[in-house]
C-alpha cells in the first residue's frame, strides 16, 4: 500500500486568518479517503491545497510541503498545468462547459493532440461509462451539456476529468447540490473509481464518509485531530473530539 500524497506541516492562511495548521498525513494510492469535520474546520481549504487550488483565493499563503509521488508540488519548478491534469477536481456546483456532451469529454484529449474521430469516440464512450453516464446520454451526445440534470452534469464533469487520465481525483462536497437519487449514483462512482484512482472526498455527511471511504481524516478548527481506517474511526475513535463530532455533540 503506497503513499500517493503526503502533506508535511501543511499550513494555509488567508490574510490574518489561519485556515489549516500544520497538517501532516499520508493519503494512500488507490483508496478513497474522506475528510470530515464541522463547518469552517478547513476541510475545503485542505483539499484545495492538494492541487494548489487554494491559490484561487486572494492573499493565500501556504507553508509546508505537499508531496505527490514524492515531489513537492509547491516546489519552484513544479509545473502547475501538469499538476492539475494529474490531480483532477470535482466541485460542489456542477460546471459543464458550454458545449455538447461529447465535446465536454473530448475537449481534454483534443487539447493533447488526439484528433481522429475513432479515437475520440472511444475515449468519450469509455469515460462516460466510467462515470456511469453513458446509458443516459448515448443517444444525446451532441446536444448541449446545459440540458442535463444537475446529477448528470456532475457525472459529466467526472467523465471530463477522467478523460485526461488523472491519478488523483479530489471531490469537494460533490453531492451537496444534488437530490438523493443523484447522490446515490455519485457515491457508487466514488467506490468504483477508488479502485483505479486515488480519491479524496470532502463531505459534511458522516454517513456518506462511512459508506464510501477506506480512510477518514477528521479536522477541527484547522487541525488534523484523527486519521485512520474508516472502520476504526467510526467504530472506535481514539480522540474525544472525534467521538463528540460523530455522535452529534457539535457540528
Amino acid at each position: 500500500m503506497s503513499t500517493k500524497i503526503e502533506t508535511r506541516d501543511l499550513s494555509v492562511s488567508f490574510g490574518d486568518v489561519q485556515a489549516i495548521k500544520s497538517i501532516s498525513m499520508k493519503i494512500l494510492a488507490n483508496r478513497a479517503t474522506a475528510v470530515i469535520g464541522p463547518s469552517g474546520c478547513g476541510k475545503s481549504t485542505f483539499i484545495k491545497s492538494l492541487n494548489r487550488m487554494n491559490e484561487l483565493t486572494l492573499n493565500s499563503q501556504t507553508t509546508g510541503e505537499v508531496l505527490l509521488d514524492g515531489e513537492n508540488i509547491y516546489g519552484n519548478n513544479y509545473d502547475v498545468v501538469t499538476l492539475r491534469k494529474k490531480v483532477g477536481m470535482i466541485f460542489q456546483k456542477p460546471n459543464p462547459f458550454p458545449k455538447s456532451v461529447y465535446d465536454n469529454v473530448a475537449y481534454g484529449p483534443r487539447v493533447h493532440g488526439i484528433h481522429k474521430k475513432e479515437a475520440l469516440d472511444r475515449i468519450v464512450q469509455e469515460n462516460l461509462k466510467k462515470a456511469a453516464l453513458w446509458d443516459e446520454v448515448s443517444d444525446r451526445l451532441h446536444p448541449s451539456a446545459m440540458g442535463l440534470s444537475g446529477g448528470q452534469q456532475q457525472r459529466l464533469c467526472i467523465a471530463r476529468t477522467l478523460a485526461v487520465e488523472p491519478e488523483v481525483i479530489l471531490m469537494d462536497e460533490p453531492c451537496s447540490a444534488l437530490d438523493p437519487i443523484a447522490t446515490a449514483k455519485i457515491e457508487g462512482l466514488m467506490r468504483t473509481l477508488s479502485t483505479e484512482y486515488s480519491v479524496v472526498v470532502v463531505t459534511h455527511n458522516m454517513q456518506q464518509a462511512a459508506r464510501v471511504s477506506d480512510y477518514t481524516a477528521f479536522l477541527y478548527l484547522g487541525e488534523l485531530i484523527e486519521y485512520g481506517s474508516t472502520k476504526d474511526i467510526f467504530e472506535n475513535p481514539k480522540n474525544e473530539l472525534t467521538e463528540k463530532y460523530l455522535i452529534g455533540k457539535f457540528g
Binding site: M53, E55, L58, F91, N95, V111
Partner: protein, 212 residues
C-alpha cells in the same frame, strides 16, 4: 485588363493592411485597459467604428473588382479571401469593444482580480496571435499562419481552465461575470486569428486547411 485589376487589388490590400494596424492598436488598448483597470472604452469604440467602416470599404472594393473584371483562379481566390479577412479584422475591433464595454458597464472599469493569472496569460497569447495573423497577411507567410493552430490550442486550454475554476474563485460576482465574458471574447479573437491564417494558407497554396 490585368493591369487595372492589379491596381484594384493593391488598393484592397492597402485597406486591409491599414485595418490590421488599427486592429492591433484596438486590441492592445482594450486589453491593457482591462488588465490595468482603466476606462478606455471611448477610444476603443472610435477605433472599432473605424474598422467597421473600413471593412465596408474593403467589401465594396472587392465586389467592384468581381463585377468589373470577373477574375478567375488565384485572383478570385485572393479577392474572396480578402472579403473574409476584412470581416475577421472588423471582428477584432468588435471583440475589443466588447471587452471594454463589459469592463466599463459591468465592472465599473475596476481592475478585476485574476488569482490564477489566467487572463493575463491568455491576453498575451491572443495579442501574439493577432500580430502573427497580420504579419502573415502582409507577407503571405504560410508557415507563420500555420503556427496559429498551436497557440489557438493553448488559448482554448486557458479558456476552459478559466471556466472550470472561475466559479470557485473568491472574487466579486461583478468581476466573475466580467472575467467570464472577457475570456470568451479573447477566445473569439483567437478564433478569428486562426480563420485569417486559414485564408492566408488558401491564398498562397489554394489549399483549404483547418487550423483549429
Amino acid at each position: 485588363m490585368s493591369r487595372l485589376l492589379d491596381a484594384g487589388l493593391e488598393r484592397l490590400t492597402t485597406i486591409l493592411l491599414r485595418m490590421g494596424e488599427i486592429a492591433e492598436e484596438t486590441i492592445e488598448l482594450s486589453i491593457d485597459g482591462f488588465l490595468k483597470g482603466l476606462d478606455v472604452s471611448d477610444r476603443v469604440r472610435s477605433l472599432s467604428e473605424t474598422l467597421v467602416s473600413m471593412s465596408v470599404d474593403a467589401e465594396d472594393k472587392a465586389f467592384e473588382l468581381i463585377a468589373k473584371y470577373q477574375p478567375v483562379a488565384s485572383d478570385l481566390r485572393i479577392i474572396k479571401s480578402y472579403i473574409k479577412i476584412a470581416h475577421d479584422l472588423e471582428r477584432y475591433g468588435r471583440y475589443a469593444w466588447d471587452i471594454s464595454f463589459i469592463h466599463k458597464r459591468l465592472a465599473q472599469s475596476e481592475r478585476c482580480e485574476d488569482p490564477l493569472v489566467l487572463i493575463e496569460r491568455m491576453s498575451g497569447k491572443v495579442i501574439d496571435m493577432v500580430h502573427a495573423s497580420i504579419e502573415a497577411l502582409r507577407s503571405h507567410d504560410v508557415e507563420l499562419a500555420k503556427t496559429l493552430a498551436k497557440t489557438e490550442n493553448e488559448v482554448d486550454e486557458l479558456y476552459f481552465q478559466y471556466l472550470d475554476f472561475s466559479a470557485e474563485a473568491s472574487i466579486s460576482t461583478r468581476c466573475l461575470v466580467t472575467n467570464v465574458l472577457a475570456v470568451r471574447y479573447l477566445e473569439r479573437i483567437a478564433d478569428h486569428a486562426t480563420y485569417m491564417g486559414e485564408s492566408i494558407v488558401y491564398i498562397a497554396t489554394g489549399e483549404k486547411v483547418v487550423l483549429r
